[in-house]
Each structure stands twice: as structure tokens, then as C-alpha cells.
């Protein structure tokens, strides 16, 4: 009893210790062993990843004479954007000398339709597999899962032949189809698992309300699945944008995606190695996935499904 009376007289939130022992929140020490260890590890890990980025940015802002001095960690004495401009618009990649700009637009033209197509199909696939247990659904699902584990290299040549036969070899639409197909197993799995985790009774209620296959998908399931669509977009944009193998196999020089062009710039054997241009080109190429991460991180709205069931 007296114990309680004492703790009531202390302003809430204040740490306080007296004859009766500790009361209120436990005091925290900033330089506790735990904190030092935790933040120490985090800082080391952050440095490990940030240092190369720092070197890249610094180098891309230097002129070639300065680079030849060899101090890769020193900041630029004279900042120049020349390498960035060159990387974007005049660097030579094989036959063309119009920089990465061509590859950038090619990549956009590949990524946008591939992402939309693959996610649209995979989400419907996953929804059908999760909620409409049609005949053979399990077999279909197993085939898809197995598909996710087949190494790409095995399928490269057969797909070349297929694309040639249907007349899409070397075109951007051919590559879009390839990306959509290869994204299918993992995306379908992703969506199936998400839709399976949604309350079954919600689906049943919608059926009693008279909604059909598309009605339930578009009006009930879609509005509840923003988080998983964001995940799928991140996966697909980074995967397709960063793809090199399919790009180099299924396109021609004038339809090369940005990654292939970057490779051609960085690995060109003629002339001097222009490190500053290479660094600028690399950063430019990596910018799109980076931007996606920053934007979509905010979109990860949790608790979209909250309130559907008891709680």
C-alpha cells in the first residue's frame, strides 16, 4: 500500500529511486555496452557499403588528370560534370556514340511493359490458385514452383529459337515476353501466398453477395493487396532493370538495355580508360532501382487488411 502511495506522488515518466527501491521507467545509459556494440556494428556495416559509393561519386566528379594522381579517396579539387554529360550523351558503346541515353530509353521500354504484364498475370494466377480451387490446381502450382528452380541458362537457346520462329527475336517485345515468363513462377508464388493468407470468409462473403471471379478480384482482393503489389513492383523493376543476360542474348545493339551498354562502355578496349566516365555511367544505371527503393519504402502501408476480421 505505502509503496503505491509513493509511486503515485512521483511525476509519471520520471525515473526515481529511493529507500523503497526503483520506480518508474528504468534509466537508460547511452554508452551502455549494448549500445556501443549495436551502433558500432551498424556504423562499420554502413561504412563498408558507403565507401565504394563515395569513391564512385568522387571519381566521377574529377577530371582525368586529377585521377591520374592516384588519390582515390581525396575529394575533387575541381568539380566537373563533364564525365556525367559524356556518359549520358556521347560515350561510345560499340557502334553508336550517343551514350547511355539510348540504353536508358530502351530499358524503360523493356521494364515498364514487363513489370505491368508480369504482375497483372501473376496476381490473377495467384488469386485463382488461392481462392478458386479448380481441378488440377495443385499440379499446376507444383509445375510453377519447379519452374522457379530451373536455371535460366538451360532455356536460353530454346527461347532464341522460339522467338526467331514467331519473328520477335531481337525486338523489345520479344524481351518483354521473356521477362514476363521468367518472372511468373516467383510472382505467382508471392501472390498465391498472400491471397491464401487473407481470410477465407471474406471471399465467401463476396460470393454470397454475388460477386464473380473478376468482381471479387477487382473489387475485394485488389484494394486489399497494395503491400504485395509494391513488393512485386520492387522485385520486378530491380530484377528487369538490372538484367544483363537476357538483354545481351535477345536484343540487337540498337535495342540494347542500359546494363549492356554500360558493360560496353566500361569494358571497351580502345583508347584510355576513362574512370570518371565509367563511374558516372555506373551511377546513372543504378539510379532507377535506387529511386524505386526510396519511393516505395514509403508506400509500404501496413495494416491494409486490418479490420477485416476480429481485432
Amino acid at each position: 500500500m505505502s509503496d503505491q502511495a509513493v509511486s503515485l506522488s512521483v511525476p509519471s515518466g520520471a525515473a526515481h529511486a529511493d529507500a523503497l527501491g526503483p520506480s518508474g521507467p528504468k534509466p537508460r545509459h547511452i554508452f551502455s555496452r549494448r549500445n556501443i556494440f549495436l551502433y558500432g556494428t551498424l556504423i562499420v556495416a554502413a561504412l563498408y557499403y558507403l565507401l565504394p559509393l563515395y569513391v564512385m561519386i568522387v571519381t566521377s566528379l574529377k577530371g582525368m588528370p586529377e585521377i591520374r594522381l592516384g588519390n582515390i579517396f581525396s575529394p575533387p579539387l575541381e568539380i566537373t560534370f563533364e564525365p556525367w554529360v559524356k556518359a549520358w550523351s556521347t560515350a561510345c558503346t560499340g557502334l553508336n556514340c550517343d551514350g547511355l541515353s539510348r540504353g536508358f530509353w530502351n530499358s524503360v521500354r523493356i521494364t515498364v511493359p514487363s513489370v505491368i504484364l508480369s504482375i497483372a498475370i501473376a496476381s490473377v494466377n495467384g488469386y485463382a490458385l488461392a481462392n478458386w480451387r479448380f481441378k488440377g490446381a495443385d499440379t499446376f502450382f507444383i509445375i510453377l514452383i519447379v519452374g522457379a528452380f530451373i536455371p535460366y541458362q538451360v532455356m536460353i537457346y530454346p527461347i532464341v529459337i522460339i522467338l526467331r520462329e514467331i519473328g520477335l527475336y531481337g525486338s523489345l517485345s520479344g524481351l518483354v515476353i521473356v521477362h514476363s515468363i521468367f518472372g511468373m513462377p516467383i510472382l505467382t508464388l508471392l501472390f498465391r501466398n498472400y491471397f491464401t493468407s487473407m481470410p477465407e470468409e471474406l471471399f465467401r462473403a463476396a460470393r454470397v453477395d454475388g460477386a464473380g471471379f473478376w468482381g471479387i478480384y477487382l473489387r475485394i482482393m485488389l484494394p486489399m493487396s497494395l503491400p504485395i503489389f509494391v513488393v512485386a513492383v520492387i522485385l520486378q523493376v530491380t530484377g528487369i532493370w538490372n538484367d544483363f543476360l537476357f538483354g545481351v542474348v535477345y536484343t540487337r545493339p540498337d535495342t540494347y538495355p542500359m546494363t549492356v551498354q554500360l558493360n560496353n562502355i566500361v569494358n571497351s578496349v580502345q583508347g584510355v580508360k576513362e574512370y570518371n566516365v565509367n563511374m558516372a555511367a555506373t551511377i546513372l544505371t543504378g539510379l532507377v532501382p535506387l529511386v524505386i527503393y526510396f519511393i516505395s519504402g514509403r508506400l509500404f502501408v501496413r495494416g491494409i487488411a486490418a479490420g477485416a476480421v476480429k481485432g
Binding site: 462473403a205 479490420g307 477485416a308 476480421v309
Partner: protein, 367 residues
Amino acid sequence: MAEIANPSVSIQNLSLNYGAVSVLQTLNLDIAEGEFIVLLGPSGCGKSTLLNCIAGLLDISKGRIFIKGKNVTWEEPKDRGIGMVFQSYALYPQMTVEKNLSFGLRVAGLPKEEIAKRIARAAEILQIEPLLQRKPSALSGGQRQRVAIGRALVRDVDVFLFDEPLSNLDAKLRSELRVEIKLLHRRLENTMIYVTHDQIEAMTLADRIAVMKGGVIQQLDAPQTIYNRPVNRFVAGFLGSPAMNFIEGQLEAGDAGAFTADGVSIPLDRYEFDKDRGSAGKPCVFGIRPEHVAFGDAAKAMPFTAESAVEIVEPMGSDTLVWTKLGGRNFSFRVEAEKTLRTGDPIRIGFDPARASLFDTPSGNRL
């Protein structure tokens, strides 16, 4: 039970299997127009499965289902004239209450004025008018359940299906909503099929209760009949809290017969046998409910009395449950809360065998 002339719902020889697992076996059930029927049974006995079959949410393996005289066995849920209320409420989280209520009507393409009219009526009946513009996440459990009922209400259907609608609510709210559902039934006079494993809900709401076990309806009768004349030992033990007392023993021959077990002999001349009593020496189980046991002076007037001693006293507020021994078995009975009994007190108990139930031991059926 007399044949029902124009059943609102009629289930004929319904079977449902999941692969090799048989959940419902040749089940028959006729439900009268405007009847409130409760499916009661332990977890996993197939109550929800039966309800989903009626709703058309599961493909049945055998049999037919008629609603309002129409064979709906192959119909889609929306065409069966049913409304369903789910245990988890299953409200569409991204829609406001109003949109939740109107979803089915919008899908059906009803005119706007008609939708507005029906929502207004349902909201008035369930008193959820102030909540119409809220999302389900901003509602309490009881309010959500009301909206879920409203969603069935606006569809203007003949048959309401409830799948344990109150089991997610706390005890107080549950008893409040129970009364509301009863009033709702009185006002609407629809046929209602209500699944629960709560016997209080079943007893208070039902016109008839169907007690299920292992996919088979054990007994289908008015609550009082089920309570007082259970057809088998399972039904007798499942209903009633505190549970019925069971004493194992055998039948004795004699003019009227008697039940004997471990030093007690209970005369059965007042017991109404259901069927032929069978031979003497037949093993059977004698069951009597705790509230049918008299105590003290009242016991003296009973056809059967026995002396015993108090073992445990369990005060339950409104009354007190006392445990003693009879026929070598634990035996409980109820006394008023004011009675102060202590462990070891000698007592006299008695009861009228006419209120008891006698079951055949091997089959468990009522004798």
C-alpha cells in the same frame, strides 16, 4: 416430429467428402417456414460444413438441397435466396459500412433509390445509422457483428445463415446480441439457421435444435425435449451445465424393474421407457441432472432417497453445486446459494426417477 408440409429448407440425403474423409453422411433435415433452427455440436462435427453446403459455398458429394421448394443443388450462392453472417464478420476492410451493406446490391445492379431504401431500413433495424460512413476498422466487435448481420438483411432473403456469429464477442455483449437476434427473428419472421457450440445460445434461441456429432444429426427436437429427454448419452452429456450425473449399473427384474449399481437400487416404476426395456441384468447408464436432485427435507418426499456426505462445495453465485458420491460415482446437485454446507456434512438427497434418463451401455441409446 410431424412431417413439415412446405419446408423452407429441405436437405435430402446430403453427403460431403473431402477426398477419403467423410464429413457429412446422408443427412436429412427439413426446416419449416420462419423456423429458428440451431445446429449444435462439438468442434469439428461438421456444422459449418453443413451451413456452407446450404449456402452453396461447397460442392456437395451426394444429395439435394431445396430452398423454398426450388432445387438449388447446383445454384450459385447468390441465387439461393440466402444471406450469411460469418464468425469473423468478414467485412470488406476497404469499404465504409454503407458500401459494405450495399456491395451485394450494387453487384446485382439494383437502382440507387432501392439500395438507399434498403440500407436505411437495415440501419434502422440494427441501429447503425451513425456508423454508416465508418470503415470496419473503426468499429467495435459488437458493431462489426451488427454490420455483418445488416449485410445479410439488405439482401431481402428468405433464409438467414449464421455461423457462430457471437463466438468472437465477450460474454456480456454475447448475451445482449443474443437477445437482439431473437428480436430480429420475431420482427422479420425469416427462416434462420444458426450454428453454435454454445448450448445457452442454442437453448434460448432455437425453435428446434439439431444436435450433431461426427457429421450425423443425433437429435432434432425442441430445446426442452432435447434437454429433458435426450435420445442418447452423447446428447445428454453435451447439453446442460453443470453436466448430467451418470451412474453405471444394470437393470434388475421385478414388477416395475429397478436400476442397481454399487449398493444403490433406484426403482423405475415411474420411469417412462421409450421402448422395450430388454432383459434383466442388461448393463445401462442412469442419468439425472443436478437441478433435478432434491436435498434435505425436500428429498424425503421423493420416490428415491439416499444418505451421503458432502465432498466438495462449488459456489457459482446464483446457486451452489455440491459434489457427493452415489453408486460409487461422483454425483453433483444444486442447492440455493444461501445454504451453507461444508465438506463432510451428512446429507440426504433424493429425486424422482421420472425425470431421469436411462441409456443402454453398449449403444448409448435411450431406453
